[in-house]
């Protein structure tokens, strides 16, 4: 099997602020293979965006302490100089963001902004770059691309703008595309168009994609592998099907139980996760999820779990102190409709910490 395209190992990103040390990302590791899609799921404060911005080198600042390794195509990006990173950004790794209206410069024409992206990495004439920009706009499904290239961002509709951003990101044929909440600001029907577009382009150009989102539906549709983040750590990762059908972390269970679903009977109650996401400055001791976990035991308040493979499936890793056997029983109960609070005590007691 070929080496992974992107290999992140023990990445930590800490920011020194007036209020204290913010541990935005606190030791995460994952890999992305060529042509594959990784979905990173998390809520606000989980560190999902910061980790990807760090891969691109966009979090380097005086108050940022970054450690770990990020190997992209054999090179360590964290150790690279600013100039070297600049060569990679927008060229081999590209990123698209949530709000295409505020993410495009309001004063420059869309075509010119794409040309800028091209010419900062490739030695071509303005005319050649412009042709390429028009080609890309056509590729992403914008009608009359040559015309539209001369328009300003505010003259596009929301969906068209996001397509233009995708065109700009893919103009230099990157090996990896990072999409940070690419559809959150869009209408549902437009969302579907954009997701379908990304999938189509991905298979055409064999681009690896990292989708960052809080929307479990989006990762279900797009991702091959999923990593669930909480409080700066990855708490569970595995194949998409596994995460949705045999998850083994209480946070993942909580997420799945608390979202309203169109395919669920109406009477089903939503089971919210109690409490609030923790402060990244004052993380809870031990397992960072323990204050909100319905299955918490004493030891969990002291011991910090590490990502461990699950029995029988090395690709599936979970950071939880409960034993695999216990977790599977609990999940079976949840699926049968038992509320977490009623979970049989003996099931928990059974598994040693």
């Amino acid at each position: 099997m070929a080496a992974p395209l992107l290999e992140v190992s023990d990445l930590r990103v800490h920011f020194e602020t007036e209020d204290g040390l913010v541990k935005a990302v606190d030791g995460i590791s994952y890999t992305v293979d060529r042509g594959e899609t990784l979905g990173i799921v998390g809520e606000s404060g989980s560190g999902k965006s910061v980790s990807s911005l760090t891969v691109m080198g966009l979090t380097r600042a005086r108050n940022a302490k970054i450690s770990g390794t990020v190997r992209f195509d054999g090179r360590d990006l964290l150790a690279a100089s600013d100039d070297d990173l600049r060569q990679v950004r927008g060229n081999e790794i590209a990123m698209i963001f949530q709000d295409p209206l505020s993410s495009l410069h309001p004063f420059y024409k869309v075509g010119d902004q794409i040309v800028e992206a091209i010419r900062s990495h490739k030695d071509v004439s303005k005319a050649q770059a412009y042709d390429r920009a028009v080609e890309m706009l056509g590729l992403v499904g914008i009608p009359e691309p040559r015309n539209r290239a001369g328009a300003y961002p505010h003259e596009f509709s929301g969906g068209m703008r996001q397509r233009a951003m995708i065109a700009m990101a893919l103009a230099n044929d990157p090996k990896l595309l990072i999409a940070d909440e690419p559809t959150t600001a869009l209408d549902v029907t437009v969302q579907a168009q954009i997701l379908e577009l990304i999938e189509r382009l991905q298979s055409e150009f064999d681009t690896a994609v990292v989708v960052i989102t809080h929307d479990l539906g989006v990762v279900a549709e797009m991702a091959d592998e999923i990593a669930v983040m909480y409080a700066g750590r990855i708490v569970e990762e595995g194949a998409a099907d596994t995460i949705f059908n045999a998850p083994e972390h209480p946070y993942t269970w909580g997420l799945l139980s608390s979202i309203p679903r169109m395919d669920a009977p109406r009477g089903d109650e939503l089971v919210p996760i109690q409490g609030r996401p923790p402060s990244l400055i004052h993380l809870p001791g031990g397992c960072s999820f323990h204050p909100r976990c319905p299955y918490v035991r004493d030891a969990h308040r002291r011991i910090d779990p590490e990502l461990q493979p699950v029995d029988g499936d090395p690709r599936h890793e979970v950071a939880c102190l409960l034993s695999s056997g216990t977790r599977r029983k609990l999940w079976a109960e949840l699926e049968a409709g038992v509320k977490p609070a009623d979970a049989r005590r003996d099931v928990i007691e059974e598994g040693a910490a």
């Binding site: 809520e43 209408d187 029907t189 099907d241 949705f244 309203p260 109406r266 939503l270 996760i273 996401p277």
Partner: protein, 343 residues
């Protein structure tokens, strides 16, 4: 939901056009037809969902119902009384019966006022609860009711999280024990795990206090969970109106079908199996809506008649009321909407 079938709100032919002016004398050259002839009833005690994408007019409709804006024409009757034309003191009295919860918990609370002041403002405006300390006690009761710590009476909004701020908004809406609450996308700006808390809270309060809830959203999954009946809007018109069971089992309007098809389902196996119905193009501008059936420009079932005759809103197979010449058949629904179960 407990409803006795009585209509607490009757909306008839509601229209709101925003004029577009141009030229030297600022003459009106056209209009943004935000709401273009909307009619529905809201039954006492029910939760009515109004769903649609941006530009469909759902937020404008909400504001027209509450008389936060004056309609261009049409009528809104609250408990039999016409509110589109009422004025002055009577309007103020009527407002006590209808309240709103807003979408953005960060901008809908005045950052300079304490939570206590914010929640007690409705009492102050209507001259209620004037007894010694009565107001403060009532407010603290409300805070407790919505899951906030009453001791935080004197704190400022920025000291609370998004979910808590939304609870403050709910408390404020409940203060005057209104009969109708309009919730405009109340959970869209919140994290997933907090959304469930607020939705559960709304359901609980509604059951306890018998409030009629009008729930405006773009998220079909949330609407599935919360609402008894649902109205789907497109470009200023109601295109489908059905009960929850009817709508999700067999949507009749192709637009509704496309909406449901587009919603990403959190189940990889389902996602892989369905034939997704992707609509081409963007929503047309409300300043220049297509003639006759407004959806015909993007509808895969459209034929000549759709371009010429505006389909009336009438009952279709299964009970859904829809405005369509070629409603979806059960087979078509199953193909495109993996979450529908044949009735």
């Amino acid at each position: 939901m407990t409803t006795n079938g009585e209509a607490v709100l009757e909306v008839r032919d509601l229209v709101k056009h925003f004029p577009i002016r141009q030229g030297l004398l600022q003459r009106q050259v056209g209009a943004v037809q935000a709401v273009d002839g909307v009619s529905f009833d809201v039954l006492r005690g029910e939760t009515l969902g109004i769903v649609g994408e941006s530009g469909c007019g759902k937020s404008t409709t909400a504001r027209l119902i509450l008389r936060l804006m004056d309609p261009t024409s049409g009528s809104v009757k609250f408990e039999g009384e016409e509110i589109a034309t009422v004025k002055g003191a009577r309007l103020k009295e009527l407002r006590r019966g209808m309240q709103m919860i807003f979408q953005d918990p960060y901008s809908s609370l005045n950052p300079r006022k304490t939570v206590g002041t914010i929640i007690s403002e409705p009492f102050a405006i209507h001259g209620l609860a004037t007894g010694e300390g009565e107001r403060k006690r009532t407010v603290q009761d409300l805070m407790d009711r919505v899951g906030l710590n009453p001791e935080h009476y004197n704190r400022y909004p920025h000291e609370f999280s998004g979910g808590q701020r939304q609870r403050i908004g709910v408390a404020r809406a409940l203060a005057l024990k209104p009969k109708v609450i309009v919730a405009d996308e109340p959970v869209s700006a919140l994290d997933v795990s907090i959304q469930a808390q607020i939705l559960n809270l709304l359901r609980e309060l509604q059951n306890e206090m018998g409030i009629t809830l009008i729930f405006i959203a773009h998220d079909l999954s949330v609407v599935r969970h919360m609402c008894d009946r649902i109205a789907v809007m497109y470009l200023g018109k109601v295109v489908e109106l059905a009960t929850n069971e009817q709508l999700y089992a067999h949507p009749r309007m192709p637009y509704t079908g496309a909406l449901m098809s587009a919603v990403p389902v959190p189940q990889p196996r389902l996602a892989a199996s369905k034939k997704r119905q992707i609509l081409a193009g963007d929503v047309p501008s409300p300043a220049n809506p297509p003639p006759a059936c407004r959806f015909h420009t993007r509808c895969w079932k459209a034929e000549e008649i759709c371009r010429q005759q505006d389909p009336p809103l009438e009952p279709k197979e299964g009970g859904n009321v829809a405005a369509c010449h070629f409603p979806l058949t059960d087979a078509e629904v199953l193909e495109r909407v993996p979450t529908a179960k044949a009735s």
